[in-house]
Subunit: 409 residues, 2 copies
């Protein structure tokens, strides 16, 4: 039994579920008070830890524990703050790691939990590697989160389900909004995801629920062909007046260049800056030039990752569950792992399993080819059936005077 | 007693509450079956009516009335479709109106309800005027809706409360999202409203609820001064790293030109089109050029008017109430009026009152000067206390397999 304090950090981009995972890790630690004697939170990830910017979570959650944890789980973004620090290679900067170990020793930290995406798992992997040659005993666990759903070794990532639910519900609403006029019009909805199209795929979910859905869905997994795109849009317009298109911000041409990248060179604003038009804005201009109908583009923007008011209950339960499982597993001796989610084959059932971090960090999981239609302009029903269970249920929200209540440390 | 059928139309931009008002008018008509013998909906407003594109709402809502009306009230955008047709002046095009009357006669329509904003009230006013010199007896009622809250003669407009709630809640979430990093950063949130700043004002509501709010709030009611703006932003950045700014899309300089309008002339895209950069995008470029810190702009876009998943219960109850009151009032003999909402002085209590349409149409109600701080960079607490009651409560949503259920005719 390794007795000592735990420290929890959040890192990378915020999500609507990363605080639910934090709540889960805290719960798991509190369930193991014999071994995990105290729980610290590091403010702004490893960067804050290096400055000893810590918060005593044991004290903070001592009273009204459940109520506070519930509100924490309903709070968007990273309540502890985040950072984007990349650790040096363990053999390249011994001093950096010695300094870290010194701080762990100072606070008697024996459990290290890092909640984040690919870059954060890199931090967990490097720390694990360094500890192998150190005499300091500490258990290191990565806990996944990312709206992008692009982590290896886990069926899906906590945070994805809530983002997917927000995007799919918003797409339903946008389609309703587009349907009110009868003149031909194209609406292009730009969705997050530079390399993986999971979020954009989710925008098509209403198709298998209500029958309504975007006409065309473009993921970064497929080379984008502007001519083929215009032909598709024309064909949709010939069929019905309100055409809705979902595009991932990361779509690229066969040359590997981001769509719209080519146009930026010639355009500068009054200050002489190159104007970085977004993917949606570029396609809007393209449709206007090539087809000439009414067209607009909508960027769903940061609400995709922070719209906590519409979180998936399934996602939030799993986010808490994976955090809790990470703490339990570490208390039982696991180290150097990420807590992953396995999905049963016959029905939707999730189990948690610690998987070696070395095989996970820095690998991107994209949407598989069989989930994309042959012509590359939509996703298959199989893809949507795979995603649908993750958006089930509406997580409870807390309101005060008509506005959501958030926990702020 | 005037016995006959009713026809209901929706016009202008969609909102998250216009279908609740439709549900209210239908309810009010159903409550008066002795006089209002049948209820039609016109598809795409008066334009559809002219093509006799009608739906028999009496038949549609015959079975499962309450359930269907509840789902209708939870459906965003205009379920009957909308149009933006401006009627000719009654004395300018007699043929147009004679044609209309002919159609009313054909369907024995004696009650005409038109749900919409300023332009729709113009339609009601013109039709009322024409009927004064016609032998065809029909009662004409306008029912207000607009997220902009810019209609005269009513304390506020149905639809505003839900948009305000969505904007205020989203602003809370964006502020959480912005708080995760410690490096100086400016986030500019562009909010709808060309002439009236009511929606932008609502973004500051969290200030009187949780204490969190945008640092600066710019409404179109105040001449925008770019130099003063940059000084304010610098001063905020000196105080804390994450500066959040709410701006109305309609802010204009002292010369009356929209902010950003000046920059558009020199900028063209690859197709040779002038690039219409939005207000937020322009200010983003300005901050980058003048201050040089990390900056981004977020356009809340059409979700402001169609995010039915986060509607204000107060707004939805009032939206239903005002529609119902319009039908009751017409059944009792009122014509040529818009159904307005009066607010009690001592506590928040709304009563409905029919007001002569002639004094209402085409007048814009802006945010009064006493609701704006002296330096023009924020709204007063008094303004927020005025708006706050309108966003109270969360209207019930209906979900199927994790996605909102909408009623589609």
């Amino acid at each position: 039994m390794l007795k000592g304090a735990a420290v929890i950090g959040q890192s990378g981009g915020p999500t609507a579920a990363i605080n639910a995972t934090l709540a889960g890790v805290i719960k798991g630690c509190f369930n193991n008070r014999d071994t995990i004697t105290k729980v610290y939170g590091m403010k702004n990830g490893i960067e804050g830890f290096l400055k000893e910017d810590l918060i005593n979570l044991t004290n903070y959650f001592e009273s009204d524990t459940e109520e506070k944890l519930n509100i924490l789980a309903a709070t968007p973004a990273a309540a502890l703050g985040s950072c984007r620090k990349k650790l040096p290679a363990p053999d390249a900067d011994k001093e950096f790691f010695d300094n870290l170990i010194e701080l762990f020793r100072k606070y008697d930290i024996r459990y290290f939990f890092y909640i984040g995406g690919n870059d954060s798992m890199d931090t967990v992997a490097k720390l694990t590697k360094y500890l192998e040659s150190s005499d300091y005993e500490m258990r290191v666990m990565g806990v996944p989160k990312t709206i992008d759903n692009d982590l290896q070794a886990t069926d899906h990532t906590p945070g994805y389900g809530s983002a997917a639910k927000y995007i799919a519900a918003t797409m339903s609403e946008i389609i309703r909004d587009c349907a009110v006029y009868k003149i031909p019009a194209v609406t292009i909805v730009e969705i997050m995801g530079r390399d993986a199209g999971w979020l954009t795929a989710a925008s098509a979910l209403p198709r298998i629920v209500s029958g309504e859905a975007p006409d065309l869905v473009y993921l970064p997994e497929v080379d984008f062909d502007t001519n083929g795109f215009i032909e598709k849009v024309k064909s949709c317009l010939a069929d019905h007046p309100n055409v809705v298109i979902a595009v991932s911000e990361g779509i690229r041409g066969a040359d590997g260049k981001y769509v719209g990248e080519g146009t930026q060179s010639g355009v500068a604003d009054v200050f002489g800056h190159k104007y970085l038009s977004g993917t949606g804005k570029f396609l809007e201009q393209l449709v206007k030039a090539e087809i000439g109908c009414k067209v607009r583009s909508v960027e769903l923007n940061i609400s995709q990752r922070c719209a906590a008011h519409l979180r998936s209950e399934t996602d939030i339960n799993e986010s808490i569950g994976v955090g809790c499982a990470a703490a339990e597993s570490a208390a039982n001796g696991t180290t150097g792992c990420m807590m992953a989610m396995n999905r049963a084959e016959d029905k939707y059932e999730i189990t948690y399993e610690a998987k070696a971090i070395a095989n996970i960090a820095n690998m991107v999981k994209t949407v598989p080819a069989e989930f994309i239609t042959k012509d590359g302009s939509n996703v298959t029903d199989e893809c949507l059936e795979y995603i649908l269970p993750m958006i089930q249920g509406e997580a409870k929200n807390y309101y005060k005077k008509g506005l959501p209540v958030h926990l702020i440390f």
